[in-house]
Symmetry: D2
Subunit: 244 residues, 4 copies
């Protein structure tokens, strides 16, 4: 028999992390406090809750991203299953967009453990790979979400070694490039959550939680003001058939 530390269900109770869901949690915890307790096994401090709230708010919505396009296209074709549309959208939270906080977070942990930021940047450039957590196709000269998240972590005195590591990494990225490349929202997300005490393995998971709420908003709009067929028509016009 193996074990889980998360939950036990009995006829008259649901115990989550040692607490009674109906008697101790429902109506007493916010979603964010409960998400922290569920994942990490301890009640968050008010600073931890504030940082997680801020990170989830940051990643919830960013316009017609690939994730939203996938979700809306799926919902238009299969409206019988909103869970399918949300799943489709979450599958697009990956290494290229929206999911890079995990890769960035792993670099920050390595820097905190003593690896020089320069080595990491050189290694990425040597393999022709961008450093995760930096740069954005739209936001210039800086990503206003990253600026806000990092400022908040300082206001709350949560900012510590991982935020410092992000700054070291940022200077190395700029030096290697010969021009400033801004920290983006996923980089700041990683640094402030790690400093708040979240493990690196949960970072993309929390991003998925944020995105699920963003997607649900888009799908509610799709119910009354659908744009999925407009997107499909635009896609068809933008891509020509050339068998060659």
């Amino acid at each position: 028999v193996s074990r889980t530390r998360i939950c036990s269900v009995t006829p008259d109770d649901v115990i989550v992390r040692g607490r009674s869901l109906p008697r101790e949690l429902i109506g007493k915890l916010s979603f964010t406090e409960m998400a922290w307790l569920q994942a990490l096994g301890a009640m968050p401090t008010s600073d931890q809750t504030a940082i997680l709230d801020a990170c989830l708010v940051t990643m919830m919505e960013h316009g017609l991203t690939p994730s939203v396009i996938a979700a809306r296209a799926t919902y238009g074709a299969a409206p019988e299953s909103i869970q399918g549309a949300v799943a489709s959208g979450l599958l697009a939270v990956g290494a290229t967009f929206a999911g890079s906080m995990e890769d960035c977070g792993r670099l920050l942990v390595r820097i905190v453990n003593g690896e020089p930021a320069e080595t990491i940047v050189r290694d990425h450039r040597g393999r022709g790979r961008p450093v995760p957590g930096f740069g954005h196709p739209v936001h210039r000269p800086e990503d206003p979400r990253a600026v806000r998240l990092l400022a908040l972590a300082k206001e709350r005195s949560v900012a510590a070694e991982h935020c410092a590591a992000l700054e070291l990494l940022s200077r190395s990225v700029d030096a290697a490039l010969g021009r400033p490349l801004p920290v983006n929202a996923t980089g700041a997300f990683a640094a402030v959550l790690l400093d708040a005490g979240a493990p690196v393995g949960i970072l993309r998971g929390f991003a998925l939680v944020a995105r699920s709420a963003g997607l649900v908003g888009h799908l509610l709009e799709e119910q009354t003001d659908p744009v999925s067929s407009v997107i499909a028509d635009a896609a068809e016009r933008a891509v020509a058939y050339e068998p060659k």
Copy 2:
């Protein structure tokens, strides 16, 4: 050109529902407030936030459900993609388990609109279908989560016509069955959120948001204390091959 009311991205800002994400939302709204704003387009009242928080906390976790089994099995086989494992788990939030708040909510709306609860119950029984929002395989004689959610809606004076409709429906279900069948968590979830002003089309969506946080907790545990192979072995022993 079609339109969306949700979001616009510019180089130095992200506007969500008419508000600046970095200047007006990050660090100022909780996740739950932001999720309501994102989906419904207006800031929630404190009662609306409290009810949505309570509903999300209620649906986040319920042990080794099919949803968790799917997510953990997927993660064990494809650990390169936590988004795939969360998606797999959300796909199991459907009509049978965890997703029945939407079907129940539609019945409550019909009762509020004047349809007799008896007719609805008779119709379901005639087609051999259970009334969504009632009964639970484990929780007896009542679902403690439903009791708590409905009490909270009364404490907050949010309980109104949809909670009343649920009570009417409950009496009809009991009368038709000749014994009490408890309101379950999805039935209470539907009634209190509808009374708080959420549209019926968002109900399963909010459940997906709650479950995504629940799943992320299980997947973090799977990273350090995996049980997916234990589940696979148990499954194999429980199902025999009989070609007949």
Copy 3:
């Protein structure tokens, strides 16, 4: 202990439906024969194989459908997981597009069982719902895939009561509309597969198999000649932000 009739694995063999996979199946069966055996538990006749092959070929590809848009958008954002992109695309095989063979098939079974086609058409029109298996946004005056599939079933003498039911249903649809509405590919798919002996519960499943191969082709093209960012740009231009 419950049971499965499908497969047993031993150290030196894999038994599928009572046959040794390495000794009796690999190199001896085509994919289509194996898919039939896997699902239905018996070796298909050559006519059954021919019909299933034709149906799978029919549904594999149909241009930049919502399913392809979802898959390509997902792959562009999360190239680390081709399984995620295929899953995203399959989630869009639903009631509106590509998945309607199942709903149509259920109507054909009812007609074969004696229900008048007129009743079914009247019932659908009364609820404002289209009859599944009829009409197509692009193919006029007829869907050339449906014509070909139905002709093939006649050539092979497979066409029987379900093809006849489809014709009855078609006449009722035309009569109710006052103009011809063509049988589409999903309607023909349902009729010929049912007449070939497939159960109605497998119809959408076989469509998913066909689409999975279609999607894989698009994702291979996306690896070398990506259009997902072109689609995202086109989508963004086609949908304006109007907060109102």
Copy 4:
């Protein structure tokens, strides 16, 4: 305007890879021929078709794998969406199980390009990672599917440099381990398909096609003889709650 080489849809035709779907493909190509044409843009030779058929037959079914568990658990909870259950199952075709043909294929390409097999094996062992394509938890002393696939490639004279590379890699794996570790089905799948002319980027894609048919068979069985609740019960008994 960007371009695709795959498909164009007109009112009276569907052109796939330059051929009319209704006039030149339906009823003339097998599924496997069409899947090759769809993905690779040219008609396969009879040897290519035979190898792809054999590979798809090989990977279709392997008992109650994590993929099947995820799909059945999802279907039991959300029977309204068979596409969701298939998607859930495909999401478990990943790096650990069933999806390792792609990683193995990349190694074979490197060996064909001149890299010594020893270097590759040493590198994997140095990072504590298994060499993909080798070893199996059940099949000993060899994987009978791999043996059959490789023999078939020789019979057909398809076996060439990638099969030779697999043999080199196999010898290096055995030497490093000090005992024979068998080539598994995914390793053989990679070698024979690469020698048949398939690009490495399609390998996992073809596995997904095979698995989709396998999953559909399981879901049809789940419709009449469900075991998903048996699996859930077995899982619950196998995993104890220990909050610590």
